[in-house]
């Protein structure tokens, strides 16, 4: 072959390969030429941030959506938001998962001839609804809690169409609290809590760090309180076991239904130790007498603890007491709420730690009594068309009567974003856009209005909630054609006097609170009934879930993947059983038991829960359907199921418990603790511990050069007092870093992927728990680094323990050798996700293929970005330029991240705090994550 022929062949071969590359079957896409930068449009590769509102729960925190290439890739707390102050909880983080959920309804559905829901068009569905509501009969509209413009629009819809607007349905309706405040002060509100002002906190059943009120705001305020210093103690009374309880400085377990007794004792004690006005005394005198002995005997809380709490409360100058959640739900729940409100009033908490002014509006939210009335009306055949708007009473209630009654409506119209048991029963189902695809607004607290603005075009053939309602109204000829965007923006200017641009830029408008005057106490008329002997025996508590609230987030894969912080269970449903009860039953983890109460029964695997009282069983809302009834007195949905019989079935059920052990096992997994070494080593350890302080790294031990950090040493510090275990960091990290969701089967094999985790450790008697957030510790002398044969993991000159995915061959020695067990392996190709979950990827972070190791990178992509910005501005990276996803989201402000070499940095201060310690320090790994051990003297 000569040169010419060679070239000829090369030409033919390359031509052929180019032709082969032209795959005509692939969808052709336009490439946007980028000669002139778009003025206000999309800049490829550049992120923009949109200020909008979280709509996962009635707390409505402000969020900032990070938008890359016209789709949101991450949501974060909106900085300086008057309610949530830049933080976001686990459920808020998971709202991105709701947006990209595979379960989303993609077009309108209508029942066909066979009675099955079949795809339809808006043009078919809307006239059907419009026709129905114009027709004869009584029509009704039921929604979840609404606020702001949508609430106004529903009002307009109702007046114009004559469709009756039913009291809104929220399972967590705060009915008892509102009823108590109505009876006592004529103000049926759910007061906001101000723990930052308090010196004593008493919480009764209210899981203020999980679901009660606004947990993000509470955690933030608690962190501010701790920052302020000074003595402060937190007492928590609960019948079950909650994360909130374990975070309190004194957790007291009351027998279910005896919380009222405890509060009655407190009230009488206060009456004896504080001077109360005559009107309050009139109330106190109506409360059945309750001595410490009797309260102790009935509740099971020790006399000393009760006295301790009562004394502290009586002495306190600025106490905060709140009752709620599971404690106000039972038969004596209204009494409990009443007593709590009375104590609030008696101690002068109103206007200081208990705020009646800047409250979340629950005025249109009904109670279970309203659902009961709806059932009756449905049964009587008096409801023609029933519109169920973004509400799932069937799924939330497990109430057979209601389910049956629903079938009596002439036409059931369901509106929602994903299929649920309520929508399955509907004749017409309209798909809703996610808040990140919608215009709207939300009112988290009186005087604050959040903007809701679209961050992307709707993924599917869906409409925003306002547009759905407007389109129905337009179709019915009730209003002229318009859009919801027009409606809300008009309303912002008209009602709030805020320019649209300002609203969209800032994300909220804060008109300030009403004057926080103390509500006036009315005359006493409540009859207390709690003193009738409380029910004893075996009880099932249906607890709210940190992860899916009342059950609404139960179908989100992200939340399913994250372990429940108390039990470390991920995907599965389970029943929590106290160690003593489990011992008596002869069951251990993963043994199946059958729970039976009345006509209801369920088979669930056992998970032992330290700290849970004898004969108390606990399941979480959402994953286990329990008909728990409701309280006639307050209308609050029930949480206690009495007369429970429990029987081990003898079967073992493999359950997704991702923790090996939740006991310290003689080791020292909690920062500041020391392993229970024995013998001579034990003595040395003890002396070392008593002499405290870190042993300086010896310079002569290593054969290799010491790591040197010329400019930066990225480090993290975590305050164990402030960390609540709320797991928001896990959700934030998982989304930010494209961490794979591996699914239930892999979790059963112990192959969870999260880069950060909350390790719960319980004291042997279950009285205390520590929640330890751990991630890659970025050690100076990382054990993972020397064992990698190919340098896929190495130490860089900024202190990062870097992982090069492309170089990794997958020996997994690094994971074996990691003392903190923070490395995660891609056992399969986990990067492929079903549409539209495949869009939930952060383009700044590579997805990992099968066979490579990964772990926390300290959000290296954010460091990169900050470096680029700093370089453009010809300076070094400064404190405040960046933080990691976990630290950003943390509601408790428990995590700081920064440059350890910068003496003015927050992380430097924390790392040099007297409480500062590191995990497994005796191994000499010298981690870059510092922990401020618990007990800075505040929780005296």
């Amino acid at each position: 072959m000569d040169r010419r022929e060679f070239l000829r062949w090369v030409g033919v071969a390359s031509g052929a390969s180019v032709l082969a590359g032209c795959d005509v079957s692939r969808k052709s896409e336009k490439i946007i030429p980028y000669l002139v930068p778009p003025e206000d449009g999309l800049v490829p590769g550049e992120a923009t941030y949109l200020a909008t509102s979280c709509t996962e729960c009635p707390a409505n925190c402000g969020i900032s959506a990070r938008v890359r290439d016209a789709r949101p890739v991450k949501v974060e707390g909106l900085a300086a938001h008057p309610v949530s102050d830049g933080a976001l909880c686990i459920r808020g983080q998971a709202s991105l998962n709701r947006l990209y959920s595979v379960n989303r309804i993609r077009q309108p559905l209508m029942k066909d001839a066979s009675g099955a829901l079949a795809p339809a068009t808006w043009e078919q569905a809307l006239p059907r609804i419009a026709g129905a509501i114009k027709g004869n009969g009584e029509h009704a509209f039921l929604s979840g809690r609404t606020s702001g413009s949508f609430s106004a629009l529903v009002g307009e819809f109702s007046t114009r169409s004559g469709v009756r607007r039913l009291p809104e349905f929220e399972l967590f309706s705060y009915a008892a609290v509102r009823e108590a405040n109505r009876a006592l002060f004529d103000q049926p509100v759910v007061p906001a809590l101000r723990p930052d002002e308090a010196d004593i906190i008493v919480t009764v059943g209210a899981d203020v760090l999980e679901t009660y009120g606004n947990p993000v705001a509470f955690s933030r305020a608690l962190a501010r309180r701790r920052d302020r210093g000074g003595a402060f103690a937190w007492y928590h009374v609960e019948p079950h076991a909650s994360m909130t309880g374990f975070k309190a400085s004194h957790r007291m377990v009351a027998r279910p239904g005896t919380e009222a007794h405890v509060l009655a004792f407190l009230l009488h004690y206060l009456a004896g130790h504080r001077s109360l006005d005559s009107r309050t005394m009139a109330h106190v005198n109506r409360v059945p007498a309750m001595s410490a002995e009797r309260a102790s005997e009935l509740s099971g809380i020790s006399r000393e603890s009760l006295d301790h709490m009562a004394e502290a409360l009586a002495r306190a100058s600025n106490p905060l007491l709140v009752a709620g959640g599971v404690s106000v739900a039972g038969d004596s729940g209204l009494d409990t709420a009443h007593l709590a409100a009375l104590i609030q009033s008696a101690c002068g908490m109103h206007g200081r730690t208990v705020d009646f002014a800047r409250v979340t509006d629950y005025s249109r939210v009904g109670s279970m009594a309203d659902i009961d009335r709806l059932s009756q009306r449905l049964e009587a055949g008096r409801v023609g068309t029933l519109i169920l708007f973004q509400v799932d009473p069937v799924g939330r209630l497990s109430d057979e009567r209601f389910e049956k009654a629903l079938g009596r409506a002439a036409l059931l119209v369901g509106v929602g974003d994903a299929m649920n048991p309520t929508l399955e029963r509907c004749d017409v189902v309209l798909p809703l856009s996610h808040a990140l695809e919608s215009w709207g607004d939300a009112e988290p607290a009186a005087g604050v209005l959040n903007a809701v603005q679209p961050a992307m075009q709707p993924l599917f053939d869906t409409l925003s909630e306002g547009d759905v309602l407007l389109r129905i109204m337009i179709e019915a000829g009730l209003v002229p054609a318009t859009t919801y965007q027009q409606y809300v923006t008009d309303r912002w200017t008209r009602e709030y006097g805020v320019a649209v641009d300002e609203m969209l830029n800032k994300g909220y408008v804060d008109r300030g609170a009403r004057d926080g005057t103390r509500p006036a106490l009315r005359d006493a008329d409540h009859r207390f009934t709690f003193d009738a002997a409380p029910a004893t025996g075996t009880v099932l508590v249906v607890a709210p879930s940190l992860r899916w609230y009342d059950g609404r987030g139960e179908s989100l894969e992200l939340l399913r993947e994250i372990p429940d912080p108390l039990s470390a269970v991920t995907w599965d449903a389970w029943v929590s059983v106290g160690p003593a009860t489990a011992g008596a039953l002869g069951v251990r983890d993963e043994d199946e038991v059958e729970l039976r109460a009345g006509g209801w029964s369920a088979r669930l695997p056992v998970r032992t829960q330290p700290g849970l009282a004898q004969d108390v069983y606990m399941v979480q809302r959402g994953v286990v359907a329990v008909p728990a009834g409701w309280s006639r007195a307050s209308g609050e949905a029930g949480v206690l199921v009495g007369e429970l019989s429990v029987r081990p079935t003898g079967r073992r059920v493999r359950t997704t418990i991702v923790s090996g052990s939740t006991a310290a096992e003689g080791r020292a997994p909690v920062p500041g603790e020391h392993p229970a070494h024995f013998g001579a080593l034990g003595r040395i350890e003890k002396e070392h511990a008593e002499g405290h302080g870190h042993e300086p790294a010896r310079e002569d031990v290593s054969f290799y050069p010491e790591p040197s950090y010329p400019k930066y040493r990225w480090a993290m510090a975590i305050d164990m007092d402030k960390c609540t275990g709320c797991s928001a960091c896990i959700a934030a990290c998982t989304i930010e870093n494209n961490v794979a969701l591996t699914g239930r089967d892999e979790h059963l094999k112990g192959r969870e992927m999260q880069w950060i985790r909350i390790e719960p450790y319980y004291a042997a008697d279950g009285s205390q728990a520590d929640f330890v957030p751990t991630m890659c510790q970025h050690c100076d002398y990382a054990p993972c680094e020397p064992v990698c044969p190919v340098y896929a993991t190495y130490h860089n000159d900024e202190g990062l323990n870097a992982q090069v995915y492309n170089r990794c061959v997958g020996t997994r020695y690094c994971a074996n050798n990691c003392s903190y067990k923070q490395r995660r392996f891609n056992w399969f190709d986990f990067s492929k996700r079903p549409h539209p979950m495949d869009l939930m990827v952060n383009p700044d972070v590579s997805v990992r293929g099968k066979g490579v190791m990964e772990k926390c990178t300290f959000c290296v992509q954010r460091i990169r970005k900050a470096r680029d910005v700093a370089k453009d501005e010809k300076r070094d990276i400064r404190e405040g330029d960046l933080t990691t996803a976990c630290a950003q989201s943390c509601p408790g402000n428990a995590i700081v991240f920064g440059n350890l070499l910068d003496e003015n940095s927050e992380v430097y201060k924390w790392a040099h705090d007297s409480r500062s310690t590191r995990l497994l320090e005796e191994l000499g790994t010298s981690p870059g994550v510092f922990y401020l051990k618990k007990g800075n003297g505040h929780d005296a």
Binding site: T662, A680, D829
Partner: protein, 445 residues
């Protein structure tokens, strides 16, 4: 003592008659195998192809997750098998090189079989680090080759030492095996014709058995033996450092190197027995593999059994005296925890079962030795399982504890290697002289 003497026409002298007998015995073992034999080879080939290659292909296609490894147990039976096969491979060098240098006569009965076993076992062992890799197709990144991106391997990593230890061992084993075979190839050549004759002729490298050849040959062989002998210590020491260099409680201990070497010799002797006892029977090699020699092997096995037994005990005592809760926790857990059956199985097979070998009668009973060797093989596999898995499953952080269970794929691949091993050994037994003819002849005076 050349082949000329042996091939001499007159079988008059009793010694030369005996030498000829050895030659005939060994050569007759190489006769064309029957259908049954081929069926057995085919069976093992199928086991190898389906259980190992098939399962491995599936694993590469799906990902290493088809195995049972998880957080925190990143290494499973693949690494157990690796250490097991390296251990098996050990007795080859021991019997050939070390006993050669010590002039132990009984080596001649086994050295060929042991060397063949070594070569095959190192192949089996060498497969496992590759099978075990998350991205097996990039295995060559473990080799330090010059490249434009200036990527190098990490010589701090014990896994990198392994690459060299195992490849060196394979090279030396193959060379040693081959060099030992050269004079025998020349003998075999004379008994074959046609194509085989050409092959054996080529393999014998023109061996004539001249005095000069013998002198050079003996020098080379002694040199190679001297070169290979330290490998007995080094290879398994390096393998033990795969663990001992880690920070994992239960691994991080200085006794690992001698402990592993003793274990390797122990398991190697057992595997030699497992292979040679049936071979002696099937190939009718009673004359060339006398009971006395098996007895000596049994003594070695008994001795090393006591060394590993001592190590089991001393590990507990060391961890107790350390006062370190992590260290002692692992050992307490081995005896009482999730893997207690494996642990006590190991103690039974490796410490208890060999003890009756103190009785001479039992040492000389081949069926008894065969059964014992099977137990020891199992016990030594369990030992590696216990060391690797239990240590990883309960390390420093209780939250991260977890239990590992091998998956069907892992079990299948494990079985597949045995298929490969026996297939190769059966082929060896028919195509190569299973006993070193020339050396055996030296024994005849």
């Amino acid at each position: 003592m050349t082949h000329k003497t042996a091939a001499g026409s007159g079988a008059t002298h009793p010694a030369s008659e005996a030498r000829l007998q050895i030659e005939r015995d060994v050569i007759s073992a190489m006769q064309k195998p029957g259908l049954g034999y081929w069926a057995l080879v085919g069976f093992f080939a199928v086991v190898f192809g389906v259980c190992l290659l098939g399962a491995w292909a599936w694993q590469i296609y799906k990902g290493i997750g088809v195995g049972g490894q998880q957080n925190p147990v990143g290494w499973g039976v693949y690494i157990v098998n690796f250490v097991f096969w390296v251990g098996i491979a050990h007795s080859g060098t021991l019997i050939s090189a070390v006993l050669f240098l010590f002039r132990s006569k009984f080596r001649a009965s086994f050295n060929r079989a042991a060397e063949a076993m070594t070569v095959i076992a190192v192949m089996c062992a060498g497969m496992y680090p590759l099978i075990h890799l998350g991205r097996a197709w990039y295995f060559f990144w473990l080799l330090p080759y010059p490249n434009q991106r200036l990527l190098w391997t990490n010589f701090k990593s014990p896994l990198e030492w392994d690459v060299f230890a195992v490849s060196t061992y394979l090279t030396i084993s193959v060379v040693f095996f081959y060099v030992g075979l050269i004079p025998d190839f020349a003998i075999v050549k004379r008994y074959t014709k046609g194509f085989s004759r050409h092959v054996y002729s080529a393999l014998s490298l023109g061996w004539l058995g001249t005095k000069t050849q013998w002198r050079n040959y003996n020098m080379l062989y002694a040199l190679l033996a001297g070169f290979a002998a330290p490998l007995v210590l080094s290879v398994h020491s390096v393998v033990s450092w795969d663990f001992a260099m880690g920070l994992v409680p239960g691994w991080h201990t200085t006794i690992f190197a001698p402990y592993f070497v003793a274990g390797a010799i122990f398991s190697g002797c057992a595997m030699v027995m497992t292979l040679c006892i049936p071979m002696r029977k099937i190939q009718k090699l009673d004359r060339v593999m006398p009971i006395d020699h098996f007895e000596k092997l049994a003594k070695t096995m008994l001795f090393t059994s006591m060394i590993v037994g001592y190590a089991y005990i001393i590990e507990f005592i060391l961890s107790y005296y350390s006062g370190n809760v992590y260290e002692f926790g692992i050992f307490a857990d081995r005896a009482t925890g999730h893997y207690k059956y494996q642990y006590w199985g190991m103690v039974f097979c490796n410490m208890i079962v060999p003890l009756p070998l103190f009785i001479k009668k039992l040492r000389r009973s081949l069926p008894y030795l065969f059964v014992t060797s099977i137990f020891v093989n199992i016990g030594m596999w369990l030992e590696r399982f216990v060391i690797i898995i239990t240590s990883l499953s309960k390390e420093f952080v209780p939250y991260a504890w977890g239990a590992y269970k091998p998956s069907m794929i892992e079990i299948s691949i494990t079985i597949g290697t045995f298929g490969f091993f026996f297939m190769m050994f059966l082929l060896f037994a028919k195509f190569l002289p299973v006993v070193a003819i020339t050396e055996k002849k030296e024994e005849v005076h």
